[in-house]
């Protein structure tokens, strides 16, 4: 049984059908790519998967559990985490705090414990510190633990966002243009990091990208969207050599 099953997903914005009849099946442990020209509806699909938007049609099942109609925070708890196209970090909080915030639902010491700074508070915080630092270390960000998130370099910020998403212990990780703004060297490192994440955290990954080198380099299967509908689906080889896909990106000759 697939980890993520999306059938006939669609959403209307007023008169505009932004996403229409999208079908997607992702197996556990897969590295899946979602590509398409600008405005094709890729981020909209992410927003639908994470409950930011509610679909007007279709079903979404994670581990055979429907998540349509659930709120973003509920969906996070069922196991989907994401990063954003325009980085959404907690700027005036430290790097460490950004990650610890994501441990919120794992270390649930009570309000009373918080008010009194009791033992369960102390041990909870200590454990969170340790887990957060370990996680940051994977990305080489532990040295910036006490730095404000807004002071990090662009590349580091992107990594922090991924780290924060991983802290929620997701089954499915959605990465929205993780390589945006990166040079070839950084992109290559990112590819290694993504593979590492999949191995180490046993997480399934769906990513949106424009960088074809990255997509063909690590994705096992790709879905191409255009104007909100499926244009092509298959392995990188099949998809990237599909003439319709090429036309969609480059325009008619």
């Amino acid at each position: 049984m697939a980890l993520l099953e999306v059938k006939n997903l669609g959403i209307n914005f007023g008169g505009l059908r932004a996403v229409d009849g999208v079908n997607l099946t992702i197996e556990e442990g897969q590295l899946y790519g979602l590509i398409g020209p600008n405005g094709a509806g890729k981020t909209t699909v992410f927003n639908l998967l994470t409950g930011v938007y509610k679909p007007t049609s279709g079903t979404i099942r994670l581990d055979n559990e429907s998540i349509v109609g659930k709120s973003s925070s509920q969906i996070c708890q069922t196991g989907i985490a994401r990063t954003f196209q325009n980085i959404r970090l907690f700027n005036n909080m430290t790097v460490l705090e950004n990650v610890k915030a994501a441990f919120h639902n794992e270390f649930k010491y009570s309000l009373l414990a918080s008010l009194l700074h009791s033992k369960s508070f102390s041990s909870g915080e200590k454990e969170m510190d340790k887990r957060a630092l370990d996680l940051l270390k994977v990305f080489g960000l532990d040295i910036y633990a006490d730095e404000y998130a807004c002071n990090l370099s662009y590349g580091a910020q992107r990594k922090l966002e991924i780290a924060r998403a991983l802290a929620t212990n997701p089954k499915l990780l959605l990465l929205d243009e993780p390589a945006a703004g990166m040079n070839p060297q950084e992109t290559s490192e990112l590819m290694d990091t993504i593979r590492l994440i999949r191995e180490r955290f046993h997480v399934t990954i769906l990513l949106i990208e424009h960088d074809m080198k990255l997509v063909s380099g690590i994705c096992e299967e790709i879905l191409v969207l255009n104007f909100g509908t499926e244009l092509a689906k298959g392995t990188p080889d099949e998809v990237l050599n599909n003439p319709e896909v090429i036309t969609a990106y480059l325009g008619e000759e």
Binding site: F13, T43, N47, V52, Y53, F84
Partner: protein, 292 residues
């Protein structure tokens, strides 16, 4: 029945003033996405300016009213330039607080210049009342209706039929796109503040003609109520502001007459809460979805 009609007409009159003020709120919110907390106090400034022109300097009534409107308009533009423009890219909490600060500033200055004691200022409107059956409609009410009507027609024409008006509508929809189309957004925003504040000046003139007592806190409550009217009608919608204003005025008048003055206020604010819970876009507003 007579009483009901008189209260109803009174409500329309009060509502007209609210509508004029609400227009300022709604236009500014539409284009700058901010609630100009200082807007209500511009009415107060208008009333004081009228007083100074007429009673202290001794200008003729018409001139005084014109000076009032121009002064308020310029004041609105100035406030925008000094306090709101620098914060366009700051978190919205900052603009909100600054606007509150501006409101306080206007009240504080009036307090310092004119003192806290209410100043009696007889109406400059010297029009005789009309009698329809056993109902009396005062001259002030008549002028209020006429002036408000003219303003609304004028504004609607301006927004829909002039180039500047379409620039305003474009900038309200999509600022970056408007800029790309060659619209000077800064100038458009200034224009919105100018018009809104001018209308507030008119509202000040009408308000003080009705209540005839000047205080630094004159504008605060009507301002907030006019905002409720703008929300009721649909914030960002000009016809909405007009509709909301009139409706709120009537509801308030009738509540004051048939329930109690105290609870009338609670009812007005209760309307705000209900609208924001049930239909935040108001009666005539549009729903907007935030882009993530």
């Amino acid at each position: 029945m007579v009483r009901f009609l008189e209260q109803f007409i009174n409500g329309l009159s009060v509502g007209s003033v609210y509508a004029l003020i609400a227009l300022g709120y709604t236009m500014v919110y539409g284009i700058a996405r901010m609630i100009n907390f200082a807007h209500g106090d511009i009415i107060m400034v208008g009333a004081y300016v009228l007083y100074v022109c007429k009673s202290i300097i001794g200008l003729p009534s018409i001139v005084s009213v014109i000076v009032t409107i121009v002064f308020c308009s310029l004041l609105g533009i100035t406030i925008e330039k000094i306090a709101y423009k620098p914060l366009r890219k700051a978190p919205s909490l900052a603009v909100l607080i600054t606007a509150i600060g501006m409101s306080f500033l206007l009240q504080a200055l009036s307090l310092l210049i004119f003192g806290a004691n209410p100043i009696t200022f007889p109406s400059v409107i010297k029009v005789s009342p009309i009698y329809i059956g056993s109902i009396t409609i005062s001259g002030i009410t008549i002028i209020t209706f006429v002036v408000t009507f003219i303003c609304m027609i004028g504004l609607t024409y301006f927004v829909n039929n002039t180039k500047a008006g379409s620039a305003m509508r474009a900038a309200s929809e999509d600022k970056p796109a408007a800029e790309l189309m060659g619209i000077n957004v800064n100038r458009t925003i200034s224009m919105v503040f100018a018009i809104g504040s001018a209308l507030a000046g008119v509202a000040g003139f009408l308000y003080i003609s009705q209540y005839q007592s000047l205080m630094p806190t004159l504008g605060a409550l009507p301002g907030i109520k006019a905002f409720v009217a703008a929300v009721l009608g649909g914030i960002g919608s000009i016809p909405g502001a007009m509709l909301g204003g009139i409706m709120l005025g009537v509801i308030e008048s009738l509540s004051k007459a048939y329930i109690s003055t105290q609870l009338a206020d609670a009812i007005v604010f209760g309307i705000l809460v209900i609208v924001l819970i049930v239909k935040p876009s108001g009666l005539l507003g549009k729903n907007s979805i935030e882009k993530v």
